[in-house]
């Protein structure tokens, strides 16, 4: 079978037509995973029982396949009366799955702040809320920015799983073209290249961000 470049070019507009869905799903999932992961990490610090429960939750999430989460949410939840649109299931599934990883990112980001920072802030008379919002949170955000960016790339690359529950994203649209035309090489190659370009661009952005955050002016 010959690779038809002209045909490959004609698949590009269709595939790029849903790039917006792919990116929005990845962004929303990354936000969801961050909120969830951060909550896990904060809960983990609340005491020994919460710590144990959260450790279990995080390990459980990280030990189950993302596709299992998507199928569970999409096919099993309706039996219990919760029917969610495929797009919502996709964002929810990716958020849950990656929250396990982002919890670790937030753990590292918080642990990396020296103990003396909170002590110095308290010694100046700042109340708890101000200690967190003016001293600890900004440093945590700086510590997690680059790792969260890297996980964003992972989430982006996981969006093709959503083809399994018929969310109109890039891999799904490539597969649609393939089943209509019986030509697989061109649409799948194009979708691969689009992901490659996206991922490389974001990774470069993360690298620049990292350099800016940890440059000479900022420890």
């Amino acid at each position: 079978m010959n690779f038809d470049f002209a045909f490959a070019a004609t698949t590009l507009p269709t595939i790029l037509g849903v790039i917006g869905t792919t990116i929005s799903v990845a962004l929303l999932s990354c936000a969801g995973a961050s909120i969830l992961g951060f909550s896990f990490e904060i809960a983990r610090r609340a005491g020994s029982l919460p710590a144990y429960l959260m450790r279990f939750t995080i390990d459980f999430i990280r030990s189950t396949p993302v596709l299992a989460w998507l199928y569970f949410l999409y096919f099993v939840l309706p039996h219990w009366g919760f029917t969610l649109p495929a797009l919502v299931v996709g964002i929810l599934g990716l958020s849950i799955y990656f929250s396990g990883y982002l919890a670790e990112v937030f753990k590292a980001g918080i642990d990396a702040i020296p103990k003396g920072q909170a002590e110095a802030a308290k010694a100046l008379g700042l109340n708890r809320i101000d200690v967190v919002s003016f001293v600890l949170a900004p440093q945590m955000l700086r510590n997690v920015a680059a790792p969260v960016g890297n996980h964003f790339v992972s989430i982006l690359k996981a969006t093709p799983y959503l083809a399994a529950i018929a969310v109109p994203e890039m891999l799904g649209s490539a597969l649609d073209i393939a089943s209509n035309t019986y030509r697989y090489a061109e649409p799948l190659t194009v979708v691969g290249i689009v992901f490659l370009v996206l991922a490389l661009t974001i990774a470069q952005g993360v690298r620049l961000l990292e350099r800016k955050l940890h440059g000479p002016t900022n420890r």
Partner: protein
């Protein structure tokens, strides 16, 4: 000043005598910090054993002793960074209760300088100095900046105001940390080994600032190994070992004729 209506305290039971220091003003006899029968454990480790210490307003007290003797723990108790299990601490006459709101209020009057500087790395020097002025004392931005500039000039570093801590040398960072604490106009300054993590050539610039402060009558409780500073600026030197106060004396007596064998051994090692 005794302007806050604190009654004069009877200080007789305390081992540290109220000293006559040499500034033009008569010594303020209010007690800035007072620890009584203070005991602290870290788990099963008895870190502070029956500590009795009074720091009269206007005095400079240096605490020295081998590492692990409890000296840092003691001054960290004085602003509630460490809890304790027995005895009492009074700051300006008010007993520390462990209540969060009370602690926050007391900490406004107690400045602290740390061994590791603990400047906020994400904030400029100016923002480090103005954060508590604005958030704790509710000063306006321009008022806070004015105060910060004043104290940055005092520690001889006004030109660095817009830099970040990482752009400064260790000595400069520690001077900023001193200015940051002074901005709150504290009634007492606690120093926890302020020169111990500095390169040798930067120790002097920090000690000079501290000696200036002492000369201006600032009440200081200072954990340090800088015996030269103790000699020059302290009213009293407190020697601690294994969680106890072993000896308290004026610098002259402490260095020339310490009464305890343990102190002599320590000084022999320090002053070699």
């Amino acid at each position: 000043m005794n302007s806050d209506g604190q009654p004069m305290r009877q200080t007789a039971p305390w081992p540290v005598e109220i000293s006559q220091h040499h500034s033009a003003h008569p010594p303020d006899r209010t007690v800035a910090v007072e620890a009584a029968a203070l005991n602290k454990w870290f788990g099963s480790f008895h870190a502070l054993k029956d500590i009795n210490l009074a720091v009269p307003q206007g005095s400079r007290i240096v605490i020295c002793g081998p590492s692990g003797s409890g000296k840092s723990t003691l001054i960290r108790c004085a602003n509630g960074l460490e809890t304790f299990q027995g005895g009492t601490i009074r700051i300006g006459g008010a007993e520390l209760t462990g209540d969060e709101k009370q602690l926050q209020k007391i900490r406004r009057t107690v400045g602290m300088v740390f061994q590791q500087f603990n400047l906020f790395p994400h904030l400029t020097v100016m923002a480090n100095c103005t954060l508590a002025l604005r958030r704790v004392l509710g000063k306006s931005r321009s008022e806070a900046v004015g105060i910060a500039v004043h104290y940055l000039e005092r520690v001889r570093i006004p030109e660095q105001a817009h830099k970040y801590p990482a752009q400064l040398s260790g000595g400069q960072q520690q001077r900023v940390a001193i200015a940051r604490a002074l901005c709150m106009n504290p009634r007492i300054m606690l120093f926890d080994e302020p020169t111990s993590s500095l390169d040798p050539e930067m120790v002097k610039e920090v000690l000079d600032v501290m000696i200036d402060l002492a000369a201006d009558g600032m009440t200081m409780l200072c954990v340090t190994h800088e015996m030269g500073f103790a000699r020059e600026a302290a009213d009293q030197v407190v020697f601690m070992d294994q969680g106890r106060i072993v000896e308290t004396a004026s610098p002259a007596t402490f260095f020339a004729a310490p009464s305890q064998e343990r102190t002599r051994l320590f000084l022999n090692k320090m002053l070699r």
